[in-house]
Each structure stands twice: as C-alpha cells, then as structure tokens.
C-alpha cells in the first residue's frame, strides 16, 4: 500500500490542530479588582501598561507576638481571610474548610495562609496562639494576625472583603467569609465563600492552576 504525501500532511495537520487546541485551553485565573493604565515613553514610542489592583504593604503582629509583613508572603501564593476566635456563626465552618487546604499543602513552601482577626479588642497574640494550636496548626505556614482597628479593617477593603463592627451581628462583628487567593505579585486571583463546599472545591482546583502559572 502506498501512502502518499497527502495522507501524511493531513495526519500532521490533524495532530497539529489537536495540540494547538489543548495548548490554548489551559485555564488561567482572572486578575480581580480595578485596574488602571499607565503610559510611558520607550524609545520615543508611547507604551501602555496595565496597573492591577495589589495588596499594599502591611505590618501586623502574629500569634507569637512577632511582626508579620507583606515580605513574609513574597514569592508565595497565599490564602487570606478574616475571622475572630469567638465567632459563633460562619468562622468555624470557614476555618474548618481552610484547614483542609492547609493540610493538603502543609510543608509546601510555595503556599501560605493568613487569617486576620477583626476582634482587635479580645484576640491578643496569646488568644490567637491558643486558637491556632487547638485548630491543629503546627507550623508557621498559617499565620494568625492582629493589629489596630484602622489597619485591619483597612486591609480588608484591599482584599475586597466586607468587615464591620456591629453590635447586632452574632459575636459583635459582621464580616464576609471569603477565602481570598493572592498570587506572588500580590494580585487577587480568586475569592471563595469559605462556608460553601462547592466554592471551597473550586479553591482547591484554582490553587493548582495558580501554582502551575509560577
């Protein structure tokens, strides 16, 4: 049987199409938040850069009374959230789910976790320490931080998470249960309701995608 050039060519074209398709279908996570453009002149030509929303520099105190800054999360993918230790409503479910993510990536230095307490009155470092131990967090990969009210509530806005002191809310504070996925450039790449099993499953998937991007 004689295989002519045409057969080879069409087989080649078919496989090329197939590979091209699988290449472009690789999923990328969106970059969330407002963006601005910045013009600059390079070699006499005007270039336009997109400036994405980023988590700004921060300094908080962790469960060991040690200063934790944005530098601790350089070159890492991290998941941030807002909670308080005696929160009776959504926090336990949210932390139970984040604990599952922590356990999967425990020991993986590319991934970190950051829980901010919004109860700046009660949640001192020693209270956070006891909470972290009882939750089952045994290394420095998951930080629990506190700070003054202005800084904590200010950074919550930057993570696009609603937090408010509210005497009518259970426990005295009202907040959203988002688990916010941040990339090494401090850009928000996803937000998942920590009380919703489907969205938590999505976080597992998206974290894998984001780690492949690095």
């Amino acid at each position: 049987m004689k295989l002519n050039l045409k057969t080879y060519l069409s087989a080649f074209a078919l496989s090329a199409t197939f590979f091209a398709c699988s290449g472009t279908s690789e999923k990328k996570l969106p970059i969330i938040g407002e963006r601005e453009t910045e013009e600059r002149i390079v070699d006499g030509k005007t270039m336009v850069d997109t400036i994405y929303h980023q988590i700004p520099a921060f300094t908080f105190i962790n469960q060991d009374s040690v200063e934790i800054t944005d530098k601790n999360f350089d070159n890492k993918v991290y998941v941030a959230n807002f909670f308080f230790t005696h929160c009776p409503s959504i926090c336990p479910t949210m932390q139970r789910n984040l604990l599952k993510v922590y356990e999967k990536y425990k020991g993986d230095e590319r991934v970190a976790f950051l829980s901010h307490s919004i109860d700046f009155k009660y949640d001192s470092p020693s209270v956070l320490k006891s909470y972290a131990q009882k939750l089952g967090v045994t290394n420095e990969q998951w930080q629990f931080v506190t700070g003054n009210k202005k800084d904590i509530y200010g950074i919550a806005d930057k993570y696009l998470v609603y937090t408010k002191e509210d005497e009518n809310a259970p426990g005295g504070y009202d907040h959203q249960s988002y688990l916010v996925l941040v990339d090494p450039q401090k850009r928000i790449r996803g937000a998942y309701d920590g009380t919703n099993d489907e969205q938590v499953a999505q976080l597992f998937d998206d974290l894998t995608i984001l780690l492949k991007e690095q």
């Binding site: 336990p92 479910t93 139970r96 604990l99 909470y131 939750l135 089952g136």
Partner: protein, 141 residues
C-alpha cells in the same frame, strides 16, 4: 420444575432479606423528630460541631462520643439551652473553652435537635421527648 422451585425459594428469601433490612430500627415519631432536628442542627450547631458531628480540632468537641451522650442524657438539654463552660472530657480528650447557649430555642426545638444528635451521632433509638427536655431544664445546675 425443581429448578423453578429452587429459584422461587431463592427469590423469596432475597426479598424477605430486603424487606427486613429496610425496616427502620426507630419509630416513625423518632424519625420525624430527627428530620426536624437536622434542619435546626444545621442552623444552630453545625458551624462548630460539623455536619457529621466531628467537631473541629481541639476547639469544638465532637458529638460522636456515645458514652458521653448516654451518661449525660439528662444534662443535654441544659447544655443546648444554656451553653457550657469547660473543661469537658469527650472521647478521652479534654476540651476547654465556652460554648454559647441558645436561649431562643423552644423545648420542642431542643427535643428535635437532641433526637437528631443522639440517634444520628450516638447510638440511641429513642426519641428525646419534650417531657425529657422539660424535666432536664428544671434540674440544670
């Protein structure tokens, strides 16, 4: 003919097993209480104690210690209604910390919840009745 009899006998034994295995080991009333209790459990208890009563680390105790549930059956309504201050030993581990009470729950709500907990996570087959709740609450510490 003989084969037919054998297979008929086989089928009827199989059917009989199916019917008996499907028979619930709790009364219809208990099952109804547990169904109502599940909804209330989701709202009032699940965040801390988990959808399977598994608790969370050393923060919140599991509700699956059948011995504890049996030995403290008459205290359970007080714990749900008025909360609890640790330490408490559950499943061989000591839990510290406070559980907030749920004073807004009515006696029938508490009966539903405790029937759900004691039959689903514990090994009870009995309804935790409204009378049980009432007598328990009269003797809270």
């Amino acid at each position: 003919m003989r084969n037919t009899i054998f297979s008929l006998a086989g089928i009827s034994i199989f059917l009989g097993m199916l019917i008996f295995s499907c028979q619930p080991n709790v009364s219809i009333e208990t099952a109804q209480y547990a169904v109502n209790g599940q909804k209330l459990y989701t709202t009032h208890c699940q965040s801390c104690h988990g959808s399977k009563g598994e608790g969370l680390g050393m923060l919140y105790p599991p509700l699956t210690d059948t011995t504890y549930l049996q030995q403290n059956r008459e205290k359970l309504a007080c714990i749900v209604k008025n909360g609890m201050t640790g330490p408490v030993e559950i499943g061989g581990k000591t839990f510290e910390g406070d559980m907030p009470g749920n004073p807004q729950l009515t006696n029938v709500d508490i009966a539903y919840i405790l029937t759900y907990i004691t039959t689903t996570f514990g090994n009870s087959t009995e309804t935790y009745t409204q009378e049980d709740v009432k007598s328990s609450l009269e003797n809270c510490l």
